[in-house]
Amino acid sequence: MKLKLTVISLLVFALFAGAAFAEPAKFHIGIMTGTVSQSEDDLRGAELMIKMYGDSANGGMVTHITYPDNFPSEQETTISQIVGLADDPLMKVIVVNQAVPGTAEAFRRVREKRKDILLLAGEPHEDPGVITEAADIATHTDHIGRGYTIPLGAQKMGAKTFVHISFPRHMSYETLGLRRAIMEEACKDLGIKFVFETAPDPTSDVGMAGAQQYILENMPAWIEKYGKDAAFFCTNDGHTEPLLRQVAALGGFFVEADLPSPLMGYPGALGIDLSKEQGDWPAILKKVEEAVVKAGGGGRMGTWAYSWGYTTTAALAEFGKRYIDNGHDKDPKYIGSAKALKDMREAYDAFCPGAHWGASYFIEAATGVKNAKFILLRQDTYVLGGGYLGLADVEIPEKYFQIRMTPVKN
Amino acid sequence: MSAIFNEYCEILTEFLAQWGISLELGLLIAALILWLLLYIGRGLAFFRFLMRWYQRLIILAGLIALGFWLFYIGREHKIYLDNKAMNDYKPFEQVNVSINGGTSAELMARDRDLRKVVGPEFELKAEVLDDNGEIVSTVTKTINLGFSKDIMINLPVLVGGSGDFIVPAPR
């Protein structure tokens, strides 16, 4: 009896659910990001889009959802949330940033139902081949290009030695390991000495505090060993903060962080209170710049002027909007064309007044095949107290695309 | 007798084909269902582990054999198609290759393409084209891969008629 009742009531609710809201916007853009505790910047980018184009619940354009904090174990939720976006008949663009595992599968399911939706993935966690088989375009930070531009930036700033700080777990990641190999080669070509230093892994038992302590304590020794004209680079966000503090105080150069943003490390390292700026990137940058110059690091420390996660969410949604507005959905040859690459650059530039982006298609090192759905992006480095370095338009020499990952020699 | 059996097989294949199931697969499913029925029919013998040791051995051997058979029929192979010079054979201007009647790959000189096939055996059809796009010659070949994994096929050698057209796949 009980069961029967529940089943009947279920059916009734299901029928009710059929009645959808009426919307004035012509089409909708679905955005999925992490929650604040996972990745704040991504989420704020989505909030910016809601501010610009309105929430679809109130007749605007943007539908924003989040993936679970525990996304590795709860793929099921990620998938059904994304597929749920495609349930809206007006949905024309879906943006997932970051594209956590499960996104490719979700995109496949959306494709099976709806061929007319543009699927965009930011910072995919899945392999390039896997994600682009389902997504229309995926964008990723340019780990290959930056392997060349970061040492180049160091050289432009005046460095003679390049110190790469990391640990085994990170070096076993394909992207990070490959970038290290490229950096080593680039340093050789640029006439800079390349050094690899190991620091403790913050996820290991020493914890974040221990890992940061290690950097704080070792920096004086490193400066002594490699001189004040050494540039430092670390792969872990946690290491960035103490590194910045010591570079400002002791000397050396810092081109940019692994995931560069004015908020990456600087506020913590120099004790900057940014509570009033709240998402105003030029103001944040200005305040960080003042603090760096005051701390004596002017001209020696750089960053990206705008956060990667924030811009990616906004730019992908903007790209999607322009794609529909300009009628590119009628043109089957658009995705993968030079025009698309240019439009993507422009979409990114739209949210970064003053800064520029370099964009290129991903080339698989093993086969040499160009993947025209996977776009690599890098922002121009901004030296605090020195201005832009002009790295965005640098042509990456062909040879760096051929480099394979090599094991770390300690 | 055998004619009736063949006809029956054909009807069965056709019947199964509408769901995209091959004959082997259909037989496998039938065997499984049969096994399940027998299994239930035997009651709890299996759970109670009361079977004699040789019965267990036979079942174990059967399962291992089933495993090998599944491995044999279910394996996906990458077939690299290579239109490059090898030995004394020159690459063709253009050659269209289709595998098991699928969409054909158009290979210009020095091109390489990749197709995937499932199962140990496949049929390859290569059409060599001249400058004007006319088909000059057509070669059809059935290739058995056995337990090997990926292979590369050098098309000039294959069409030229020499036997050693299978080259190790690139890694």
């Binding site: 089943v7 609710f13 590795p72 749920g84 496949r108 | 239930i40």
Partner: protein, 391 residues
């Protein structure tokens, strides 16, 4: 009378609460009926086998088998092997089951022995056992595979030469079972559109005028699940099944009646583990990607939550509970985040709410059950006092 009322509430509170929440959440989410039905059907196909594997240990009085993650891990090892060898399609799935079975049997025997040493604490022990075996699993997959256990496919192997990648794409067996007998339901208009999208592949078509859009039905998976339900019903009637139920009622009495208690309990766990192994394979063939180190994490947690939400308790669970549970729990999963967002205007709160509910509901269901059992025990003690005293 009051006790009866209490019983009724305790037995139905959880499903009732869920129905009420859903009643509010479904209209709030704004999803279309066809999407909801499609998602629910997919999830029934995907999850019910895993949940059904919990039934047999409950029958044997061993509570909710958190150790089913052991079976899930065995299934994943089977899948890793077929991925490495490149076996696709139905043969791939069957071969994965074939490889997973002996691993699941060995793990199940181990789990059964451990649980026999922890009688009365089976649930918490099997829960910790899951963590323990997870450590061993990580050891095997992250360090031994590619080093001692031969894995060669570069798509699987980490580039350092040993250890399996974090995410493995299961394209070769993706949706194979679900689409074995392609079936679709469409409304009166949707048929032609769907047919075009299919590229003319044959499928079974059912038309129901009420529905907008098209709904795919994983018919073959549902048939497998139905067969399995038949198996459970049949199994209950066998001698072994009867023994298990007797043990579930009272171990001491069963022992004196000549039932080998410990052995029967081990068999119950072995069956559950093996079935969980198959369940995980069915689950992953639908998901299409294997998160090597995380996919099994939540298998036990979510299956148990779904079963409890379906109205089952620690000592009593039926097949109907399973299906009601899948529907209610996953309905919650689908609508809660969006409903929360539409209600509060913040997407993440809905997400956190969903997590809270899934843990909270297990806590509530366990509390209700223990409470009820203690009341019964108390009542029994009161009526016995004077005769023997104690338990």
């Amino acid at each position: 009378m009051i006790r009866r009322l209490f019983d009724i509430i305790a037995n139905n509170a959880v499903p009732a609460v869920f129905i009420i929440i859903s009643a509010f959440a479904i209209p709030l989410s704004g999803y279309s009926a066809s999407y909801l039905i499609q998602e629910l059907l997919t999830r029934i196909g995907r999850n019910s086998f895993l949940i059904l594997s919990l039934l047999i240990p409950i029958m044997a009085g061993m509570g909710l088998n958190f150790g089913m993650v052991l079976g899930a891990m065995a299934g994943q090892i089977g899948l890793l092997f077929i991925c490495d060898w490149g076996i696709v399609g139905i043969p791939g799935i069957v071969l994965a089951c074939l490889i997973g079975t002996p691993i699941a049997i060995i793990l199940g025997i181990f789990c059964g022995h451990v649980l026999n040493r922890a009688k009365g604490r089976e649930m918490v022990t099997s829960y910790i056992l899951g963590f323990f075996i997870n450590g061993v699993y990580q050891m095997v997959v992250l360090y031994l595979m590619g080093w001692i256990i031969p894995i060669t496919n570069p798509a699987l192997l980490l580039s350092r030469g040993y250890g399996v990648r974090n995410a493995v794409s299961l394209l070769g067996i993706r949706g194979i079972l679900d689409n074995l007998i392609p079936t679709v339901i469409t409304g009166t208009q949707g048929a032609g559109q769907f047919f075009n999208a299919q590229g003319g592949n044959p499928f079974i078509l059912l038309q129901i005028p009420l529905i907008d859009g098209s709904i795919r039905i994983p018919l073959a998976t549902l048939i497998v699940i139905a067969l399995f339900c038949v198996f459970i019903i049949w199994f209950r009637k066998t001698k072994l099944g009867q023994d298990m139920r007797a043990i579930g009622q009272n171990q001491a009495v069963s022992d004196s009646a000549g039932i080998p208690v410990n052995r029967t309990r081990i068999i119950a766990i072995v069956i559950s583990t093996v079935l969980a192994c198959y369940g995980q394979i069915i689950y992953l063939q639908n998901m299409g990607t294997l998160n090597t180190y995380n996919s099994h994490d939540q298998a036990g947690m979510f299956s148990i939550a779904a079963l409890l939400i379906g109205g089952a308790s620690v000592s009593r669970a039926s097949i109907a509970n399973v299906f009601l549970g899948v529907i209610l729990f996953h309905l919650m999963f689908i609508v809660a985040p969006v409903a929360g967002k539409n209600l509060i205007g913040d997407a993440q709160i809905g997400e956190y709410f969903r997590v809270f509910v899934s843990y909270g509901i297990i806590a509530i269901a366990l509390v209700l059950h223990a409470w009820k059992r203690n009341r019964e025990r108390e009542a029994a003690r009161r009526s016995l006092r004077g005769n023997k005293g104690g338990e």
